[in-house]
Amino acid sequence: MEPEVPVAQETEKVPEPQEVQEETAATQPASPSEDSYQVKLEIFEGPLDLLLYLIRKKKIDIHDIPIAVITRDYLEYLERKDQINLDREAEFLFIAALLIYIKSQMLLPREQEVSQEEDPRRILVDRLLEYQKVKIACSMLREKEEDQLMRWKRTFLPPVARPDELDLLEVSLFDLAETFFLIMKRKERENFRVIKGKDVSVEEKIKEIVDYLEKNGQMDFLEYFSSQETLEEALVSFFCLLELIKNHVVIALQEQLFQTIRVWLRKDRSPHLTHGHSHE
């Protein structure tokens, strides 16, 4: 094996075979054109794939591999490869070594007929049979994949009921403010001591709300509001919601006063508004 034989710009196509196959497989006649390996190594998914390809090409039964012929083909193929990356293709070399080992075992004179169990090819044949099953499963899965790739699903949440009805329910800023102050009163009663949390910026909060909406589609604002750690943060989040509504980034709907406020991103929002906002 010559590692790293740099052939200028020839990596894409394996060159035509320079030497003519002197002996075609004893078992099966193969046309010379079929024997030219116009395939690059990369298309094989590994040494077993290559081996399977060689065996099929010779139209041999896997259980009865003519080891000498296959070993020669295999090595020849590796030699044609312009560059062998030893790290990456150690597996190819390992199978090469295995083939040579099996060949030598089979050449050894035996006292008795080799029984099935002792056939040195056995280990390789078992692996090939298993691998062959994988290849067939692959082709069956590929068909299913092709069918599924041409089917389209919806990745967005479809509209609920009539959109024009929903429009009538759009929350006014007044509704929002009123709700908010009622909640604040409630929260004030609950919060005996107001812990001063970290400073929350409006920008951060807006980003958090928009991120949340982008991920979850919609938000139950009252739930979000009451999950805020401090009153200050809750205030900021409410202010942010107002800003987002004002800038037409989100739409907020409330069916009745004191009921939950549902918030969605507007489809027609201008993108720059979703990332913080700018005070002039």
């Binding site: 067939i136 499963a137 590929r142 299913k144 092709e146 599924q148 790739l149 041409m150 389209w152 967005f156």
Partner: protein
């Protein structure tokens, strides 16, 4: 047939971004006998079966979902102005099918079957969420163990792992190939 039930199921499948499972149906509907639900689902699927329908309900990943039909792929792509969806590389598909049939499985076991190191394919599949790490094997080195995901089933339109091509089917194909060889 319970017409009201059928209409509601249609709504739920329509609203669902992932296949709608029986579990979710029951969570939403509460006390409705499963046979009744199944009958309504079947009637609903029939509604979408005629050739003049563009969408249909398929069973995939353990649930029901609306999809377009394969023959309209080009219209959808023209409408959305997108390219054909890309297939998995054959290395990734090979790795995935080995995991599907042999799960739970480690990287070393995958490599032993494929005959090549499969780390890159495993990475691709993890990122596409077609497989997941589910723990470790009690073996030297405690290697990570992989399984296919729900998304794997959806990707191939399989309802469960039982829908994978069976060993006998595979053997049958092998036999056929053998005959053409000899």
């Amino acid at each position: 047939m319970n017409e009201q039930l059928k209409a509601i199921l249609e709504v739920l499948i329509f609203m669902s971004q992932d296949p709608l499972t029986m579990k979710k149906i029951k969570e939403v509907l509460g006390e409705v006998p499963e046979e009744e639900i199944n009958a309504a689902l079947e009637a609903l699927r029939q509604d979408y079966s005629p050739a003049d329908r563009g969408i249909q309900i398929i069973q995939s990943g353990g649930g029901y979902i609306f999809t377009t039909k394969p023959e309209h792929d080009q219209w959808v792509r023209r409408f959305l102005q997108v390219e054909k969806k890309t297939k998995l590389s054959s290395a990734a598909l090979e790795t995935l099918s080995i995991i599907a049939y042999h799960q739970p499985i480690t990287q070393a076991e995958i490599a032993a079957i494929r005959g090549v190191d499969s780390t890159y394919s495993v990475k691709t599949l993890l990122q596409k969420k077609l497989i997941k790490i589910v723990g470790r094997k009690k073996a030297p080195g405690n290697p990570l163990v992989y399984r296919t995901t729900e998304k794997f089933l959806q990707y191939f339109g399989l309802n469960s792992l039982d829908d994978l091509p069976k060993e006998e089917e595979i053997r049958k194909i092998l036999e056929e190939e053998k005959q053409t060889v000899s």
